[in-house]
């Protein structure tokens, strides 16, 4: 028997040799390559987009589908290392502080009593308490809500500064209360990084319907309000500081530019014409505005208070069919005081209504938040119809003038980003072009065409601002493309059809 035992190892080898082996296994070294890049320690820096925020919240499954995590899975095939993320506690997404809920749960697609689908807030008690500080470091340093300058602002993760000057998501992961996001990223000594920041520097202004201030010319970001546009020089200064710190460790990386915030479904879903009227109602409304159109406005021109051009823009006219709503435009001349004096002598309430009134036009954008307001009654009074007799408030309309401010700042940011990518020999990702394609003809994939249409287009989550997992997968592919091109790497892209879009459930509040 003994003489046979010596054959046992040979037998074992022979058995092992029966395992199927590919001629070129993709898991073998050098099938996929990192080129001049080194993915062993990838750190992603950015805002909600980097964190994987979706459906109005940050939750676990969305974090798993964050573009940095998708990229890291692909990097792992080309020498990439472990990628850690500050996962939230649950799939509800709401945050609490000391047990009190401070942010809402995520949106899901639910059906109403009539079976019509629409976004609704997922039911449940969230369990992610931001006072429970996680021990990092985390490769994903995406901080939802962060603007460019926040990444270098000490105390942004200090709960003592919350909510005025601290961010609940950074409070969870800051290495110490007065750490900066940038310092915590650089301390990880990344071999590779991605930086996608600046979106919120214009986005919050846009999503608030331009309710904030364009701070161009104000170089002190500590004086900015939450909905303000960041001065382009401030952006350039902090952004170059970030890039310098990141490349200072010898890391290679990718810089991602800012997409047009006005092409997201948050602004493209509510139509400009949204007020359905029959002929008698339109005629009735027109008769109410006849005096205003025919005497008040020409009179104001006559007195030199407004230009003839502005008077034309302020004309109110309804017709049978679907009409443009009325709105307040704070870029118009406020005529409420003048209208109370002679010769107009209007009462204060009417004068206030007409103060910055105009009718919307095709160049205005209506945020998703306006959908729940347009055509509704104020205090159940049938005379007070939002968007008709009651003008839409400023935050429900992003006017062409406001869009112009956003576009100007964005173009400046993007010039900075592109310039710094070139100067530091980094990969440059044109997320703007990518989103234009999605919002335009769409992106064809193996299961259809990805578009930016709200709910059904597939690219965006139910907040209308942040991508769906499939949208994030497309983003990851764009960045991988840029990295492969820049560094001669061969990181494979993912199949975006494998990623989900919106979650359906009727477990809602």
């Amino acid at each position: 028997m003994k003489k046979y035992i010596k054959y046992l190892p040979v037998l074992a080898i022979a058995f092992a040799a029966c395992e199927p082996e590919f001629d070129n296994p993709i898991e073998e070294d050098n099938f996929f390559t990192s080129g001049e890049a080194d993915f062993s320690n990838y750190v992603a820096l950015g805002n909600s987009l980097t964190a994987g925020f979706a459906d109005g919240a940050l939750y676990r499954t969305a974090q798993n589908d964050s573009y940095p995590n998708i990229m890291a899975q692909q990097f792992a095939l080309a020498g990439g290392g472990e990628f850690t993320q500050p996962l939230t506690n649950d799939n509800l997404g709401g945050l609490t502080l000391g047990g009190n809920q401070i942010t809402a749960n995520r949106f899901v697609l639910a059906t109403d009593a009539n079976g019509n689908p629409g976004p609704a807030v997922l039911a449940g008690t969230p369990t992610t308490d931001i006072s429970n500080v996680l021990s990092g470091p985390f490769n994903n340093m995406g901080v939802p809500g962060a603007k460019s300058f926040h990444l270098v602002t000490p105390g942004y993760g200090n709960v003592a500064n919350f909510p005025a000057a601290a961010n609940p998501y950074f409070i969870r992961i800051a290495s110490e209360p007065n750490a900066t996001v940038l310092a915590d990223a650089v301390a990880q000594n990344p071999s590779f990084f991605s930086l996608w920041i600046g979106n919120n520097d214009v986005l919050s202004y846009a999503t608030s319907g331009g309710a904030g201030t364009d701070q161009t010319g104000n170089l002190d970001p500590s004086t900015y309000g939450g909905n303000d546009i960041t001065d382009p020089n401030v952006f350039a200064s902090v952004y170059s500081q970030q890039v310098a710190a990141l490349v200072g460790t010898g890391a290679k990386g990718a810089l991602v530019n800012i997409a047009d915030v006005t092409s997201i479904p948050f602004f493209t879903t509510v139509p400009a014409q949204s007020i359905p009227l029959d002929a008698p109602t339109a005629a009735f409304l027109n008769s109410n505005f006849a005096l205003y159109n025919q005497q008040v406005l020409p009179g104001l021109v006559q007195f030199g208070i407004i230009t003839a051009e502005e008077a034309a823009a302020r004309q109110i006219n309804f017709a049978e069919g679907v009409n443009f709503p009325t709105m307040s435009d704070d870029d118009l001349t406020d005529i409420s005081q003048i209208l109370q004096g002679p010769p107009f002598g209007l009462d204060a309430a009417t004068a206030a209504t007409l103060g910055t009134l105009r009718q919307a036009n095709d160049s205005d954008l209506f945020p998703l938040t306006a959908a729940g307001v347009l055509g509704t009654l104020v205090n159940d009074n049938p005379q007070l119809i939002n968007g008709v007799s009651v003008p839409l408030a400023d935050q429900f309309v992003l006017t062409a003038v406001e869009q112009g401010r956003v576009a100007t700042a964005q173009a400046s940011y993007n010039a900075t980003i592109q310039g710094l990518a070139a100067a530091n020999d980094l990969a440059y990702v044109d997320a703007r072009a990518q989103l234009q394609q999605v919002a335009g003809s769409g992106v064809v994939f193996d299961g259809g065409t990805l578009t930016s249409t709200f709910v059904t287009g597939g690219a965006f989550s139910l907040d209308g601002v942040h991508p769906s997992p499939r949208g994030y997968a497309l983003t990851a592919n764009s960045i991988i493309d840029a990295i492969n091109a820049k560094y001669g790497a061969t990181v494979p892209k993912v199949n975006i059809g494998d990623y989900s879009t919106v979650n359906i459930t009727n477990n809602v509040n």
């Binding site: 029966c18 259809g448 199949n495 494998d498 979650n503």
Partner: protein, 419 residues
């Protein structure tokens, strides 16, 4: 001799016996060792499967053969475009056989056979890249068959009998590529049915025109395993609570039909001293397997249509036997097994392309009556780039494919007894 024996064992360690589709050609260790030839080989009771007409030519009054194989099969998948990879972790299959024959007269022999010619056990990691097609599947069919073999002349015999089949299936896949519940768990369905019975038959003849030379032919009928709605249970899991979802969580009945295809075999054997040579040709009528359609009992649950479009497939088998010493008979064989899978319908649930089977084995005779029969099969598949195009989303075909490489290694052990 011992050295030769050891080397032979090592050489044959990698031998496995599978055939295209979910046909599992492991119906006798002696035959398997000879490339699974046997339609014209008179050796032991394995004839009950290969060609019942030959039973009447067995020298002894009572013949019994039984055995079992252990199927170790692995499938690897990779997609170089997206960097996806997967490997099956399939349970070890244990197909078995039992045959008995009894000569009631010089011209008539009765027999009984139980064997498992169809089956498949493939298990991928849950939620792998192709999980919308299959997570795991376990198909099994046991054939039980009474037989009669009649010698019409010294040179010619016929045989056959009815077949009773008891089949079972357990199959799990995700509903599609993306649907999950609120926690991100993929929505999936398991269909389960067991003890499904069906009937068929087989018959053959054997011709011995001169001494040492035999011809045989055998036919086994197509048997459709029909699952009725009150026999099958489909269980949906992790489906979100929404009228927008295609189904709801819970169990419903289902009906389905799975064909176990007909198989023609013709072959010949020639004995020359201590040597015997055998050749078989099999034609499996796989064209019967057009589509696996699952009809869920509730009308509002969309039926699952899974086109297969198999083609008839041939297998060419060669075997040789050598009576080395009185106690030991050595066997070896080779076969080429054509896959029934057609272009564009390579489903990961039965990932079989053309394969080469290398077989070997031996019988160790313990006295005159009893022998131990051992066999090995190594089934070698070329790696293949293939895709399945029968899956659709929103009416659009979504191909799933990549590179597959399979192997199977199947050792088997049996006994033969004659009295």
């Amino acid at each position: 001799m011992k050295k030769v024996f050891s080397v032979l064992v090592l050489l044959l360690v990698c031998a496995v016996t599978y055939a295209g589709g979910y046909r599992v050609s492991l119906q006798g260790q002696r035959s398997l060792a000879m490339g699974h030839t046997g339609v014209a080989v008179v050796n032991n009771a394995e004839l009950a499967f290969f060609n019942p007409a030959g039973l009447v030519y067995l020298e002894n009054k009572l013949n019994i053969a039984g055995g079992v194989s252990a199927v170790f099969s692995d499938v690897k998948f990779q997609n170089a475009e997206f960097g996806q990879s997967a490997q099956t972790n399939s349970p070890t299959g244990t197909p078995f056989y039992f045959y008995g024959s009894y000569a009631v007269s010089d011209h008539v022999t009765l027999g009984l056979a139980a064997y498992t010619p169809y089956g498949s056990a493939v298990s991928y990691e849950d939620d792998w890249a192709g999980s919308h097609l299959v997570n795991n599947i376990d198909l099994a069919a046991i054939y039980i068959q009474p037989l009669v073999s009649v010698k019409l002349a010294d040179v010619f015999s016929v045989g056959g009998g009815p077949i009773y089949v008891s089949g079972s299936v357990n199959f799990n896949r995700n509903l599609n590529r993306t649907l999950t519940d609120e926690e991100g768990n993929r929505s999936n369905v398991t269909i389960d049915a067991s003890g499904i019975s069906a009937w068929g038959w087989s018959a053959g003849f054997m011709l011995n025109p001169v001494e040492n030379l035999r011809f045989g032919m055998n036919y086994r009928s197509r048997i459709d395993v029909e699952v009725e709605q009150d026999e099958g249970v489909a269980t949906f899991e992790n489906v979100p609570n929404s009228p927008l979802a295609p189904v709801q969580n819970g169990s419903v009945g289902f009906a389905a039909s799975l064909p176990l295809p007909a198989e023609w075999s013709i072959g010949t054997s020639y004995t020359w001293g201590k040597w015997m040579f055998a050749f078989d040709y099999n034609l499996a009528v796989w064209s019967a397997y057009e589509s696996l359609d699952i009809d869920f009992a509730p009308e509002d649950v969309p039926d699952s249509v899974n086109p297969r479009n198999y083609d008839d497939a041939s297998t060419y088998r060669f075997g040789v036997q050598y009576e080395a010493v009185k106690a030991i008979t050595l066997r070896a064989g080779y076969y080429f097994d054509e896959s029934p899978v057609t272009e564009g319908f390579f489903a990961p649930e039965t990932p079989r392309n053309d394969s080469h089977g290398f077989t070997g084995g031996l019988s160790f005779n313990i006295g005159e009556k009893l022998s131990i029969d051992a066999s090995f099969l190594y089934l070698r598949f070329e790696e293949v780039d293939a895709e399945y195009t029968g899956y659709t989303e929103n009416g659009q075909t979504v191909p799933f494919g990549g590179t597959y490489k399979s192997s199977a290694f199947i050792p088997g052990l049996g006994v033969s007894y004659k009295l």
